[in-house]
């Protein structure tokens, strides 16, 4: 174990996977110097046949990922800010997510798409989206939302070694956060949630960037005599229902925290699962702490107003804990 930054953990996973398998290639806009730092140094080690800067042409990049994967490569495509997934969305939604079924299972698409998501830093509406709900709704792609450096490294390895397209959602604002990362080669399986903190009164399900404020909220709640269990799903597709259902059967009270806009968010999907499968265990309505259905404003005070905070989580959890 050693303490590493989130970005560094991603960088290590890329180095190790490129070393391990010569079929792994990386491309995207500015991956050589790496605006987020995650692909830094790969060019010096592996050269332009393994990693290269592309023109700005997202619609082509996502299509190329499909073609290169069909041609036998394990593709890592960096899309920078996740708002730029939108400019590349055709091949994602119409090709990547559908071709396996449509070709009668002939195609295998080992594609990993990295992109940074989330707000909170006055980047304004076109650089602050959290679009995992769109991806979840496509059906044919995996969605990983690592919250810690250890999970970032382990989930990225699983994605790169996998047989299906995976969106690896980087918590943009958390790139500098550090945490313990195991030594040596390891993977983190998809579809296995982590219990980040055990508790008995209320379950906080926190997605990606929201893990940190949820853990902060759990501490505050403890001081108020409320014991919160914090669960990090780690992947949204596939989704670990069992871990969440087990926790909810114990606590009967749930808050889901998600940085996506509320409507059709991961949070609302999880709430639907709970209504369906844990109805008898629930002692209070399932609460969602999300971003309202607005574009992210620029001004720091306005952004703070709509951004899920520790205080929002504490108040939602307190309300749920008190409900008869």
């Amino acid at each position: 174990m050693a303490r590493k930054r989130y970005t560094q953990a991603i960088n290590e996973a890329l180095f190790e996977e490129m070393e391990r398998d010569p079929k792994v290639i990386v491309f995207g806009e500015d991956v050589e110097l790496a605006i987020f730092g995650d692909t830094r140094g790969l060019l010096d080690r592996f050269g332009r046949n393994r990693i290269r800067n592309t023109p700005i042409c997202e619609a082509t990049l996502t299509g190329m990922a499909v073609g290169a994967a069909a041609a036998g490569y394990r593709v890592v495509l960096h899309m920078m800010f996740s708002n730029f997934l939108y400019t590349g969305f055709d091949a994602i939604a119409n090709q990547m997510a559908k071709l396996r079924l449509m070709t009668g299972g002939q195609l295998e698409l080992p594609i990993t798409i990295l992109s940074g998501y989330g707000g909170g830093r006055s980047n304004a509406a076109q650089h602050s989206d959290t679009p995992h709900p769109l991806l979840m709704n496509l059906g044919g792609v995996n969605v990983a939302v690592p919250a810690t450096p250890a999970d970032a490294k382990g989930l990225l390895k699983t994605a790169i070694r996998g047989r299906n397209p995976t969106f690896f959602m980087e918590a943009s604002g958390r790139g500098g956060d550090s945490g313990e990362v195991p030594d040596g080669d390891y993977t983190v399986p998809f579809g296995k949630a982590a219990i980040a903190r055990e508790g008995s009164d209320v379950t906080l399900i926190a997605i990606g960037t929201m893990l940190k404020p949820a853990l902060g909220a759990a501490k505050q709640l403890e001081a108020n005599g409320i014991s919160a269990e914090v669960i990090d799903p780690r992947t949204l597709v596939p989704f670990d229902e069992d871990t969440i259902l087990r926790s909810v059967r114990k606590t009967g009270r749930v808050v889901v925290v998600d940085e996506a806009r509320d409507r059709c968010s991961a949070a609302s999907h999880i709430a639907a699962i709970l209504a369906d499968k844990a109805f008898g265990s629930l002692k209070a309505p399932v609460k969602r702490v999300t971003v309202p259905d607005v574009a992210m404003p620029y001004a720091p005070n306005a952004e703070a107003k709509v951004f899920p905070s520790e205080a929002n989580i504490v108040s939602a959890a307190s309300a749920v804990a008190k409900a008869a």
């Binding site: 050589e32 800067n53 023109p55 619609a59 006055s122 076109q126 259905d293 404003p297 620029y298 001004a299």
Partner: protein, 333 residues
Amino acid sequence: MTTQPSGGPTPEQSLALYERMLLIRRTEEKLSADAAAGVLPGAVHLYIGQEAVATGVCMQLKDSDWITSTHRGHGHFLAKGGDVNAMMAEIWGKKTGICKGMGGSMHVADLSKGILGANGIVGGGLAISVGAAFGSKLSNDGRVTVCFFGDGAANQGVFMECLNVSSLWELPVVFVCEHNHFCEFTRAEQVTSGEIINRARAFGIHAVKVDGNDVEAVWRATAEAVALARSGKGPCFIEAETYRIKGHMEFEKELLAGGKYRELDEIEQWRARDPITRHGERLVKAGIATAAQLEEIGARVARQVEEAVAFSHRSEPADESLVFDLMFAGQKP
């Protein structure tokens, strides 16, 4: 706009070009200093070194003409007559900002001046400009739309689609590609095949190349392009060669942690071709202004920038409730 027989600007227009470029420069120098001091709320992409393009183009336009802009949009905004106080306040996230603090640096827009907005999406303005020009064509309103975009944006597929539609339908749009040699930290030649101007020519579009650091050359080329577009003969294309003196964005050094994509020498060579210094020297040489008169202009501009900053500082923060009021027209989110 009246034109000298030579096709160049009148002395008054020449002075106006100088003052406008200087306003953009001094405004951004202040933003650069404030970014370095860590006091601005968000990131800024500066236009320093490219002022002649926006200024030479926009001073050929009427308020009613449209422009679309980019993430590097302060220069376009000010050149088209946007208010410096309102832009500065926007960047500071204030209620008095031109977008009420909701958009910030990358999204400054002023519809009353025909500024459809800066844009955080590279290539985002291209199709918007074609749509605006389509509207002008349908209503025969005599307006021209100018689309500013970078050499990087020229690699988006939508560029080719826009060239096709606008040429096919003879839309009154002028595409202005600012070739500043970089797409973020990648040299343009590493990601661009052939000449961008030939892409326009392939669609039968009248296309010219100009020295983007020579405001009069830009001014003249725009006069011709706008006249053609306005007369209903379809789109025009201008490729303006220039150079981005500052980083892709402020804080670039910290972001790249020692990574390098250009030599300091190159920046110095382009500084020697500074569009404002060059134009100032020309004014003095032509007897249009004395050095002392240029200094007066400089002092006036400096006061304007100081006032814009003071205005921003004394303005109230953005009104948070607007987030909900502004999302839709006449509807709650």
